[in-house]
């Protein structure tokens, strides 16, 4: 057993004992009932289980949760898909996903939302040239697997958000 203290969507959880073999995915879904984060492949391939990890320096990255022990998140601050909407208001990215019909079954969507959000926050700090935008989006979303959509509308939704606010995201 290991003591786990973790901040999830701004709320502190723990310290609580967790089994060493407990995955973060199981901790979120089974212990906390936060089922927005999905379990897809169980092998860190599809990234439907990815959450956002916030570094103390203000940067963020996404991490699979299916192959990573919950204990390794001790002391960390993470955001799940449940963090995007505020007071019932969908985020700009969520709205774009809807208007662009980016998802179908929705199983991979949490991962794409988290990855897209990390990209937006990164570009807000370090904008890219318009000419590099499509490549930047493709590289950011690379690795997230989707069986339904063919990916194009996910890319279009993310591009739409960026192009709607070029002063913020583009150099």
């Amino acid at each position: 057993m290991t003591k786990l203290s973790v901040t999830i969507n701004g709320r502190a959880y723990g310290p609580r004992d967790v089994r060493d073999e407990l995955s973060m995915n199981d901790f979120l879904r089974e212990y906390l009932g936060m089922t927005g984060t999905k379990f897809g492949c169980g092998a860190a391939q599809c990234l439907s289980c990815a959450v956002i990890v916030d570094n103390p320096d203000g940067t963020s990255y996404t991490s699979p949760t299916c192959v990573v022990p919950a204990a390794s998140f001790d002391g960390k601050s993470i955001r799940t898909v449940e963090s995007h909407a505020k007071n019932g208001e969908l985020s700009v990215l969520q709205k774009a996903f809807i208007t662009h019909f980016a998802f179908q079954c929705g199983y991979c969507t949490a991962g794409f939302l988290n990855e897209g959000q990390v990209l937006l926050e990164r570009l807000a700090k370090k904008p890219v040239a318009r000419a590099d935008l499509d490549k930047t989006i493709a590289e950011a979303l690379d690795g997230h697997l989707c069986r339904c959509t063919g990916y194009i509308k996910y890319h279009e939704a993310v591009r739409h958000v960026i192009l709607a606010d070029p002063g913020r995201y583009l150099s």
Partner: protein, 204 residues
Amino acid sequence: MRFDLRVQLFVAVLVLPASVLAAYAVSDSPPERLASVESFSSINDTAARSAAIFTELGKVLTHPRCLNCHPAGNRPRQGDVSRLHQPPVERGADGFGLPALRCPICHQSANFDPAGVPGNPIWHLAPREMAWEGKTLGEICAQIKDPARNGNRSVDALVEHIGEDHLVGWAWAPGYGRRPAPGTQKEAGALVEAWVKTGAVCPN
């Protein structure tokens, strides 16, 4: 022919196959074990002994636990069959993966057996110049001795690297579903030390 010359010739004829047989017997240890340094003492020729010791060490260097992270290309390999790593991760600029999926994101500081994911605090690929994939043992030996291709290490520093480095040591405690490297890290370190002391000769 004089008697003493015939005796010398007789002894030489006896010793030569005996040393060959001794070398065979020494390297005949099971694949999962490493022969001891002492077992090579029957090889009288120092250079031959040195090469034989490195050949034994080669069981470690060419084992999947080591070879999988010393790839020639941009992708690590995994498993005892050394298949290409899934998910399809890449080396990245620093050997720690591409920005979107760094090695330590999945590979934590220790093995996580429930998911079958090995771990170490500094999980990463060996630099490209230290690639062993597709090379003969002689080529690996030459590379491992070359400071330009071994991280600027002297042969003496190799003793510590192979015998004590924590990431190298993972090979002997790789977690569920993976065969450990042959012998122990201590035995491998002893072989490296003996190889260095006998002149660090490479096998052909």
